[in-house]
């Protein structure tokens, strides 16, 4: 039984990891775009972007999952998310949008914390704005945002369990299935070990990254 449960949970965890990895893959760069929008000089760009960030951060992720999954069906009359993979993609879209908005605010804080003098020093040396960002600002921002990003990313590991609300077969879903099929609840508790193990690995990784970036102040 233990083996059956473990295999089933591993399968669910694979789906959890897939959701986690793909969410990061898309939301980290998307967050940067949103961030540039939210600090744009033009109000016509800045205001709508800030409005979206407010909505996304101001409503539960659970609700966003439901809206993104059921919304298109209600509006178009036919669901665009079909089957297991369709539900997974719907969850992914919700997670990417949600996390990109949170990341964008972390980036914004990081970018605004870099002293104006760094930009000016780059300018008087004749660097282009792009060079100033990529050669001077980016690494300093990266160093400063590692702690809040690691916080957010570890939260994401656990937030992936919300996807079960639209029947994405992630680890909690698989764990709780044993309640119905075999009348046992311990597999559900067992899922905690997977989360703990994974966040432990992430904690080690971010510790390493912080150390790696400690060569400058």
């Amino acid at each position: 039984m233990f083996l059956t449960v473990t295999l089933s949970l591993l399968e669910g965890f694979l789906s959890t990891l897939k959701l986690f990895g793909l969410t990061l893959l898309f939301s980290i760069p998307l967050g940067l775009f949103i961030c540039f929008g939210s600090i744009n000089k033009l109000k016509i760009i800045r205001f709508p972007i800030r409005f979206i960030i407010w909505v996304i951060r101001g409503t539960p992720l659970m609700l966003q999952l439901i809206v993104i999954y059921y919304g298109p069906g209600l509006i178009l009359g036919t669901s665009i998310w079909n089957g297991t993979s369709g539900r997974f993609i719907a969850a992914l879209v919700a997670f990417v949008i949600n996390y990109a908005c949170y990341f964008s605010e972390i980036y914004r804080g990081g970018i605004l914390s870099i002293p104006q003098g760094q930009y000016e020093a780059g300018k008087v040396l004749g660097l282009t704005n792009r060079e100033i960002f990529t050669k001077i600002i980016l690494l300093q921002v990266t160093k400063r945002i590692v702690p809040p990003m690691s916080n957010e990313i570890i939260t994401l590991v656990k937030d992936t369990s919300l996807a079960r609300i639209i029947s994405v077969y992630e680890i909690i879903w698989n764990g709780s299935a044993f309640i119905k099929s075999d009348g046992i609840i311990w597999p559900l508790f067992y899922t905690g070990a997977f989360y703990l193990l994974f966040s432990g690995v992430l904690t080690l990784f971010f510790g390493w990254l912080e150390k790696k970036l400690s060569f400058f102040k």
Partner: protein, 254 residues
Amino acid sequence: MSILEVKNITKKFDNTMILKGIDFSMEEGEVISIIGSSGSGKTTLLRCLNFLETPDTGMIKVNGEVLFDGANIESNKRIQEEEIRKKRLHFGMVFQQFHLFPQYTALENVCLAPNLLKNKSSDEIKQEGMMLLDRMGLSDRMNNYPHQLSGGQQQRVAIARALAMNPDILCFDEPTSALDPELTGEVLKVIRSLADNNTTMIIVTHEMGFARDVSDKVLFMDQGIILEQGDAKEVIDNPQKERTKQFLSVMNKY
């Protein structure tokens, strides 16, 4: 021909006139010190020369080439980033707070901009960078990161970084104001040696003795105008205007 001609530069922030019409010119190899109380517009003037601020009116010419013309203010607003970048390269700037790039070593700080400009080989740039740091007395500090250097050393790296771009005119914005008194000497010594090598420099400073010894000309700024200018020793030893006398007597008390 003058290396730099500045005519009737004005600059307003919100509703406060910071610069109310600045005129001066300088020759190649000349050193000009700008003195005056805080808020008199010294730093704003330097920032206008470096295109960190855009003046409202006036004209800036370097070697006879018009870099800024307030009469064409409309077209100026649309000057491409690219053009401003080229114009900036006539000037070098050393900031009060150094503003070194923390993630690069001293040598990398010096070589970054020349490497991005790409008109020399990176070996050549590295050689020049090492030479410059050596001139600054930092040959044993080339591979240190800024946070491993003292304020005086950081400022000397910043001077080398500005020199690496071969500017026509090197500007200093209170280069020793953020330093401990015992570290100002080493920075002033370096600037003095640049002056001895005929580097054209504009120095905003509160070090009156230094301004008197090193510069050819002194501009005394007060409330957005140049109130008094002339030979450095004459202005500092024998100021003509009442305001200049008052400022210098306060400065000399400390």
